[in-house]
């Protein structure tokens, strides 16, 4: 991730800050999330395309450094990624097909493993604490879990799985979108800055650079965090003897893209796998939970400040507030998108605030317009 250089530090004087800008950021982010919610089928591939773009961008930069034109570099990098992705997918296809056939069976096996873990834990608790036995805690909890799995789980799980299946074809758009971002992204930014009047040109240029820098720092930070989390979790799971440690670590690290609940869901899945594969050894489950808590702490206090944390430069309080707003407005995609979106909206709102509060810039724009008008009408007055 590129550190904030002197231009960013100095350029922040361009950005207006204050309660109005903050309110505008919150309102605009919420409205954008509401709009995005209506086009989730497009938002998800876009999000993956942006992540892919920032992942592949360094390779394109290296090729342009070697003298290859940007268009050719984008085609080479995106094409190579596509070929590698297909090559990696082909050997896993038979396994995926087998999983799809046995998916439901495996899912219920793991849920049953989880249920047995809960049973064992409640029995142990009842034997330790007499008041729980007197309350008939185990039976009561068992009944509630049965009710939950009979109604909510079956209804919503099917719905969620169908939703994911519906999104999968749209995800194929991601590599194509990423290719066009890589090839034409720079041209598009230039096109945007060309459309701005001369008086506001330098500020707009700065805003575009800041927006690009913020998004790049966030998504590249997110990728680095995912890699670090995958390594830590995979090593930890290997150490406690879990099967499929790397796949589980990668899945958990990717689920952590969803703030708060992502890690909880990932931990739940790993606990279910541990409880099913090691039914007679509850210590594996406890070790998995301990590992997730440890990696979560490392994430919050070490890895995240070093990777994603620096990119948005937001105070933790509005960050938490925004995460809640994102979740309430647009569910899980809202949770993932709200922070980068707010970071970008904050820069745009700050720039517009800076222009609105600068009468000199507006006067220069009016002067330029008057010069143009005088030029157009010069022959009419003679």
């Amino acid at each position: 991730m590129k550190p904030a250089g002197p231009s960013h530090a100095a350029g922040s004087r361009y950005l207006s800050t204050g309660p109005l800008v903050w309110a505008a950021t919150l309102v605009c982010t919420t409205l954008l999330l509401l709009m995005l919610k209506q086009a989730l089928w497009l938002v998800v591939p876009f999000l993956f395309a942006i992540i892919l773009y920032y992942a592949l961008f360094p390779a394109v930069r290296r090729l342009t450094l070697a003298g290859v034109e940007r268009e050719t570099s984008a085609a080479i990098v995106a094409g190579s990624f596509f070929v590698l992705a297909v090559a990696a997918m082909v050997p896993t296809l038979p396994w995926l097909a087998a999983q799809a056939v046995n998916g439901e069976e495996a899912l219920f096996r793991y849920l049953e493993g989880g249920r047995m873990l809960v049973d064992r834990t409640l029995t142990a608790l009842e034997s330790q604490f007499g008041f729980l036995k007197r309350m008939d805690f185990h039976a009561e909890m068992g009944r509630k879990i049965d009710e939950f799995s009979a109604t909510y789980m079956q209804e919503h799980l099917t719905e969620a799985l169908l939703g994911v299946a519906a999104w999968l074809p749209a995800l194929l758009l991601a590599p194509f979108l990423a290719f066009f971002f890589l090839r034409d992204g720079r041209r598009f930014l230039k096109f945007l800055s060309d459309a701005v009047p001369n008086a506001y040109f330098e500020r707009t240029l700065y805003m575009i650079e800041r927006v690009d820098g913020t998004a790049r720092a966030y998504f590249q930070g997110l990728l680095k965090l995912t890699l670090i989390d995958t390594i830590c979790l995979a090593l930890g799971l290997l150490a406690i003897g879990m099967p499929g440690a790397i796949a589980l670590g990668l899945m958990a690290a990717m689920l952590a893209w969803v703030p708060f609940i992502g890690s909880v869901i990932a931990c739940g899945i790993v606990v279910l796998v541990a409880a099913t594969d090691f039914p007679s050894d509850p210590w594996v489950v406890y070790a998995a939970i301990g590992l997730f808590l440890f990696v979560r702490l490392l994430d919050d206090f070490v890895f995240m400040p070093l990777t994603v944390g620096r990119s948005l430069q937001m105070h933790p309080l509005p960050t938490v507030l925004l995460i809640f707003v994102g979740g309430a407005v647009a569910g899980i995609p809202g949770l993932i998108l709200v922070l980068p979106l707010a970071g970008v909206v904050m820069v745009v709102a700050g720039t517009i605030g800076g222009i609105v509060n600068n009468p000199r810039l507006r006067a220069r724009h009016d002067h330029a317009k008057a010069l143009g008008a005088r030029r157009i009408t010069a022959d009419l007055h003679s």
């Binding site: 250089g5 002197p6 004087r13 001369n198 240029l205 030029r375």
Partner: protein, 157 residues
């Protein structure tokens, strides 16, 4: 290396860029990289390009026309110099965070190419050779300006 991927003829646009002192030492592929970073702006005679005291984000090169450098709001009495096509101005924006020292106005209709500090910094990261060639040209121009100024100060009135 990979030269077969960039063996195209020089376009008129690259020819124009090569005429500018700032990019005179760049090779064709290097010019193409820089061309991707430049923004072209047109200004009418009398239009302000930047104000004194404003924070500078870009360096400008005059592609055509003339630019007046003067003290803020004093185009007649506070005229410092008038510069022609091919010359760079606002170059200190690339080097430090100091505000613009003078005002720049279009002395006649002009077309300018601008390179932002952010892009120059990313050039330093990604294309160090190009960035060093541009820096050398900038240093030469600053040296020339210094020599001219000290010669002007020594000249008897």
């Amino acid at each position: 290396m990979l030269g077969f991927l960039h063996g195209r003829k020089e376009t008129p646009r690259l020819g124009t860029l090569r005429q500018l002192s700032l990019f005179a030492t760049l090779s064709r592929p290097e010019l193409r990289v820089v061309d991707g970073l430049l923004n072209e702006r047109s200004y009418l005679k009398g239009e302000i390009i930047f104000d004194e005291g404003e924070e500078g984000q870009t360096v400008y090169v005059i592609i055509s026309g003339r630019v007046l450098i003067c003290r803020q709001g004093e185009p007649e009495t506070g005229k410092i110099t008038e510069i022609d096509a091919g010359v760079v101005f606002g170059e200190l924006a690339l080097l430090d965070d100091a505000p613009r020292a003078l005002q720049a106005r279009a002395a006649e209709d002009c077309v300018l190419a601008s390179l932002s500090r952010g892009d120059f910094e990313s050039l330093l990261d990604t294309h160090a050779v190009i960035a060093s060639k541009i820096s050398l040209q900038l240093a030469r121009q600053l040296g020339r300006q210094l020599r001219e100024r000290s010669a002007a100060e020594r000249r008897p009135l």
